[in-house]
Symmetry: C2
Subunit: 426 residues, 2 copies
Amino acid sequence: MKKYTEMSREELLAEQSAVKAQYDAYKAEGLSLNMARGKPSKEQEKVSLPVLDVLNSKSDFSNDENVDVLNYGNLEGLKECRMFYSDLLGADPDKIIIGGNSSLSLMFDYIMQCYAKGASEETEPWILQGDVKFLCPVPGYDRHFGILEYMGIDMINVPMTDEGPDMDVVEELVKDPMVKGMFCVPKYSNPTGCTYSDDVVRRIAAMDTAAPDFRVIWDNAYCIHDFDEHGDTLLDIINETVKAGHPERAVEFASTSKVTFSGSGISVIAANEPNYSWIKKRLVKQTIGSDKINQLRHSRYFQNFKGVHRHMMALAAIIKPHFDVVLTKFDEELDGLGIARWTKPNGGYFISLDVMEGCAQRTWDLCKEAGVTLTNCGATFPYGKDPKDENIRIAPTYPSLEELAKATDVLMTSIKLACLEKLLAA
Amino acid sequence: MKKYTEMSREELLAEQSAVKAQYDAYKAEGLSLNMARGKPSKEQEKVSLPVLDVLNSKSDFSNDENVDVLNYGNLEGLKECRMFYSDLLGADPDKIIIGGNSSLSLMFDYIMQCYAKGASEETEPWILQGDVKFLCPVPGYDRHFGILEYMGIDMINVPMTDEGPDMDVVEELVKDPMVKGMFCVPKYSNPTGCTYSDDVVRRIAAMDTAAPDFRVIWDNAYCIHDFDEHGDTLLDIINETVKAGHPERAVEFASTSKVTFSGSGISVIAANEPNYSWIKKRLVKQTIGSDKINQLRHSRYFQNFKGVHRHMMALAAIIKPHFDVVLTKFDEELDGLGIARWTKPNGGYFISLDVMEGCAQRTWDLCKEAGVTLTNCGATFPYGKDPKDENIRIAPTYPSLEELAKATDVLMTSIKLACLEKLLAA
């Protein structure tokens, strides 16, 4: 088909009438579909159920360091759990602390510590330094922005490229001493699905920042969430920052939320000195330690990297077809129209879709009217404001393949309609 | 036996020589005993093991509100869990939020919120208000003091009576607008074991505080930890503060740490408006929700108040004999000597022992020398400083009955020796 942008007014009107008929037909179906939720499907949950069989009242609870897992103690987490995460992230097990069910909490608490107590022994709490700022690669993850907004930290948009944040922009912005950090989802980024290139990781590790208390929040949420054996590879930020002479630069976070159970997994922090000790200085006041029974349950279930890889491939076999449904349809029906572009990730949970400028919210509204819920427009930007009104985050994992196919059809029709309206109004 | 304080110098010297011989004999045994740890024994752990059999991969995970417990969501916690805690605490289930494995974390995070974001929409963060202060009934719990010390909040000692904190002192101190709160362990207080009287609870709820952002941290850690059917009763602070016209006065915390597994239980916050919404405003940024599988595991296991009561009575049957060993020995050997007084709680985890002024640290040292570890002197006071050097916290649950008997013998001998030294030096 011809590009919409190259159509004559008559062609556009003819197309609009055809698309509108299609849209009305969908609307008449009385659909109720949802592509907004970045959460595992029921089918994925089933893959993890055997985790719950690992421990029962008859179990032997012995472990590497002979910790009483049924009692208090062990702030850093069980050794086998730290070893397990060391395999996954590449960081030294002695730089790792195991947390509770939520890496979001670990990030919130870490940023709160920087905010209220400072990022190090030597630096002032951010709250006492005036209007501090954070760099936010966009599109990005709304819950990251939510943490910063809660603390009143100013957010600065940084454009994402296919290789990660635009480092020319980042390197310029960090010359401002009030810029205190940056949020990164370095592998299968939420929502673009891109993985930071080695060059980008090295530039993040090596760049000069005016603020001595600048910290990168390295949310490695999708570190092992490949769609097949040929997943993207990512440099280990913890080691790279040491090599670059900035060991304090980054704090890494991950969890099993999208590995086992989204609300009942284990999470992790990895950090070099001085961050590791600084974080522990808080943690020792905040908790006696995380849930060791759940830690043992997880490490016994996975045993080693091979075990977790096998598990992730079982999940990938479920997840990838969901992505394929959306991407195949996009390729068949949207490609070449000149009204949308989208990412084709090798893992993770999202597809990032950019429609013609100014058409995202209208697309969202049309979908809603036809019974398809999308992630709120603007959610992928600080303060909920997409400056070009073009980005839509698609979460394909949760709906069934059938629902997903239908929802994608409605979405594509809505995009076309929104863009046709815009072109005709021009 | 005659009171030490009424003995002549000759009598004291004779007694010292006899006690010293006994002490040396204990020392020669090469003991290694520990009365410092306020944690459940192996025997107690066994009582809770069946909790781990409640859920497995074949389980039906349905629940009162039909929440998908294997997935994200549900910030407040499962309804059955909130109902369960509502039974325990007396608070409305809609005023309850279920947390992770640690009520300490809930308290830390709440105080951090007040510190960095304020105690309410209308009031300034404590960090921006200058040198804010907190009232600490003493002796008290070192981890409470640790939170305040971490945040640099000044701690003011308030003496404990048999009915709770000395309210005349409290009512006077809260006239200072920089006094922003008070820590309370209202039932089987750590370490005195006393339960706040109705009058004390009502005075806490009703008193006028100069600070509008004054908050009571009501750590109801031992709310159901009675030694028998005739446990102490405690007024419900959440309702009392409403009655008194100060609904914002208190935030209540509890957990199953000493009910099921110390590191793998569930915790809870209960609060009236406006605190409830203010806390949720933070929580919604900090987490997607606590571990619902563990919540379901706990609520299925207990079913109802009767279930938890049965469980607690099974634990009490193990715990009470531990307290009896210590208290019987104290009664037999220390009573009437005029050198020590101690509490006789009806529940909880601790006995508070006050020895002759200036003799606690010397007693501790003598115990250590003879192979018996006690809770560090001063741990029951802010900044680790017991102004009278008289308080020792005894934690009888963890050692075996045999170890406990021996440790108590060593302790009593050490107390006698320390006090005799002091009397002879006078």
